[in-house]
Symmetry: C2
Subunit: 167 residues, 2 copies
DNA sequence: GGTAGAAAGTTTAAAAGTCAACTACCTGCT
DNA sequence: AGCAGGTAGTTGACTTTTAAACTTTCTACC
């Protein structure tokens, strides 16, 4: 049975969510740019790289982890590379592959930016909101991500096991 | 006491929210474009106009209601105007003001697109999610919007009361 | 071992968004 | 009246994002 409308309260939640996310991402992006010269998407990429054992990930892994298109990752990584925060290496185990590696400068930039960013997230979103409501947001968007996400995240990437021929 | 980190579960919620919103807005935008040739921001503007008594709003009201910059509203409305969905009128009660008016074509386009869009929202976000969790999302983003929003939404706009000199 | 088809990334051009400067108008004060 | 300062909206230059075409490499099968 399709063609259903939203209930009054679903409608309200949906509207305020649209407004809220817009304001939230704008705020986080602006804070990050002003204090650290990074955009939010750039910051997210640095985070993912830093969390990978050897500070390196393949382009496709990066794309999957932040849910961006490969094309977009190419562009963003190019910017990060020209800023000196990331370097590209070719993947030893797959001639088509490219590995983005966090530089020391990139890591330092991230370390400098993270506390301010977390503070922004707290004051804009988390502080003063019921812990259980945050958890509910987690549940909801987890479902969304499962439904809409490319169920990828598999593959024998060479970022962690490929440290055998970095020459 | 600043400089606090996020708890494990806050962190998880935040991450999955980032991924989820990205996937969600991408999906809704793509659906709308494929079936109806409208972007999500364009659609939102048509909605706001349609909900205003006389199918007309001032640019600043529009900007506030969707939390976009005025510049962005100018650009988006320009596109909608050249598509024939909206018309600009100057505001009789304020020489600086501009009123965006929904055309019949614009309204028809919205009427055609709305059911598909709502269906997308349901299947991507709402269906199968606990009603109480949707309500929690509403509470959370309502707080966010209150905190970050320009506390505007005042002003003696002429969109509803200005129907005295539409000549 | 050669070849068809898929996967990884990049490229290019066009579309969309941002930012700061600018015009025009309104408001209040003297 | 006149002028200072603020508000509404637009503009144009620049940046970011998107979409589609393209190159290269890999995989599987004959």
């Amino acid at each position: 049975m399709t063609g259903r409308w939203l209930t009054e309260s679903q409608q309200r939640a949906w509207r305020v969510y649209l407004q809220g996310t817009t304001l939230l991402t704008d705020t986080l992006d602006r804070d990050l740019r002003e204090k650290h010269g990074l955009s939010l998407p750039e910051y997210e990429i640095l985070v993912r790289l830093s969390e990978s054992g050897d500070h390196a990930l393949r382009m496709a892994e990066l794309a999957d982890s932040v849910k961006n298109s490969r094309s977009r990752i190419t562009h963003t990584v190019k910017r990060l590379e020209s800023a000196g925060f990331v370097v590209r290496r070719s993947c030893p185990s797959d001639g088509r592959g490219v590995i983005a590696v966090l530089t020391d400068n990139g890591f330092a930039k991230l370390v400098a930016a993270a506390p301010d960013h977390v503070e922004s997230v707290r004051t804009a979103l988390i502080d003063g909101v019921a812990e259980e409501d945050i958890a509910a947001v987690g549940r909801v968007f987890s479902t969304v991500a499962e439904r809409l996400g490319t169920d990828a995240t598999v593959g024998v990437m060479c970022s962690d096991g490929g440290r055998d021929q970095v020459d």
